[in-house]
Amino acid sequence: MARTLAMFTDTSLCIGCRACQVACKQWNELGLEVPDWTGTYQNHTHFTDKTFRLVRFIEEPKPTGDLAWLLMSDVCKHCAEAGCLDACPTGAIYRTEYGTVNINQDVCNGCRYCVSSCPFGVVSFNETTGTAKKCTFCNDRIHNGLGPACAKACPTDSIQFGFRDDLVTKAQKRVETLKAMGFKDAQLYGADSKGFLGGLNAFFLLLSKPSTYSLPEQPKLPQRNVVVDSLLSVGSAIVIGLGALLAFRDREQGDGNA
């Protein structure tokens, strides 16, 4: 396996220009999507089968009462422990040699288990192709020596592309700098490979707690309870089975109205 690639999205540098969102749509030829009225600049409201990069506009007042507009470019996290990948029954979702997670469109049969298995609500179903869609980490580009289109288009280096270990070091330094500058809630999200989901290959620097950005505080791998749930089912089966067994072994009439 090649060295793991990653995208580091530093929201402290994001200016909400949405060049990433447009570059993504253009490069991946994602097509027209009629937006809903959101009452803000936010469009679309969430990832869809045609929106793989999405800038979030979060208005929240600072403690001083001044308005703050937190801006964040969100994307598929390419989790080291990926719920979608584990859920996929056809093997269409796979991990590339660079550590990214991709959906083979020729294999996906559209069961949508991956959709319900993404802790971030990234994977989306496309009605036209009948398959699941999500950010490919610009698979075609990274296999030809280029970075993802979103990172390329970002004017402020809010989205950085590179080797994961390098980026994590850089990100850690950046958090320290920001903290020294007075951003006391500055924190990394998904950078720690010992943290949740084994670390995210698209990780973030946030200026507020994750939930402010509609991110789960502690995302969990959906498949973590398969064994427990299965054992409890087996227990249930034993009780039911015994009940039925007793009912049928009962030589007396089971019921009075025979």
């Binding site: 859920a87 029954p89 056809t90 049969n109 179903f125 409890l232 039911i240 049928f248």
Partner: protein, 274 residues
Amino acid sequence: MLKTPDWELMIVWYFFLGGIAGGAYFTAAIADNFGTVRDRAVARTGYLLSLPLVGMCGMLLIADLGVPRRFLNMLAAFKFWDPMSIGAWMVGVFGLFTFVSSVLSFTSSEKMAALRRKIGLVGLLFGFFLASYTGVLISNSAMPFWSDARLMGALFLASGASTGMAAVSLLMFVTGATAGEGWGKVKKADRFSMIFELLVLAAFLFMLGSAAKPITTGHFAPLFWGGLVAMGLVIPLVLDLVGHRVRALAPIAAVLVLVGGFILRYVVLMSIQA
């Protein structure tokens, strides 16, 4: 900001019919193996009911795919930790069991019957699986409520049993196969299953706490409390206990159990996706 898989009515039906098929089959297999000769009608009814149901299950499952013709892609991979993967395999394997058991349920040869009983003993494991795996499948997702419900599989299994037995009982009533003592035993087993289901449901809600809100409060609450708990479980039990001398009440109770089983799958799936 999670995304729902849009598993709607087709999957509700699949979950519901899969439960009945599993429940009917293992009821049949238990009756076949542990009951008397006079319980054979139960076994035959159960086997014969499970066969078309599992066929319908397969069709629903395929029809709900984004690319139905790629159904076989499921069989190109086998992931033992993945309920969807195993589930797809098991529907096929279980289908084979129901087919063989159904064919053998017509045999008059005692040798073949013995074979059928042995097959049934193995097949009932797959019946249990089919009735419960759908619960494990959704409880191993990222969806709130579903993923919080550790007893989803257990509950689905109990419901599969109660509805499977109710279906067998109803079918026996309709086909006039109530003569032997089997019908009574099915009803007894069903009663047990329903009581157990109520207990599991209580534990299920207790363990979920506020995570159960999508079904216990709001839009789906009347359906859950009225449709499942009252109409689908408590009333059939009362009917069964109070009116066990009135023959006509039995099929009504069975129908209510079936409706309740459908409502269970409906509220669980739709409350999150609505």
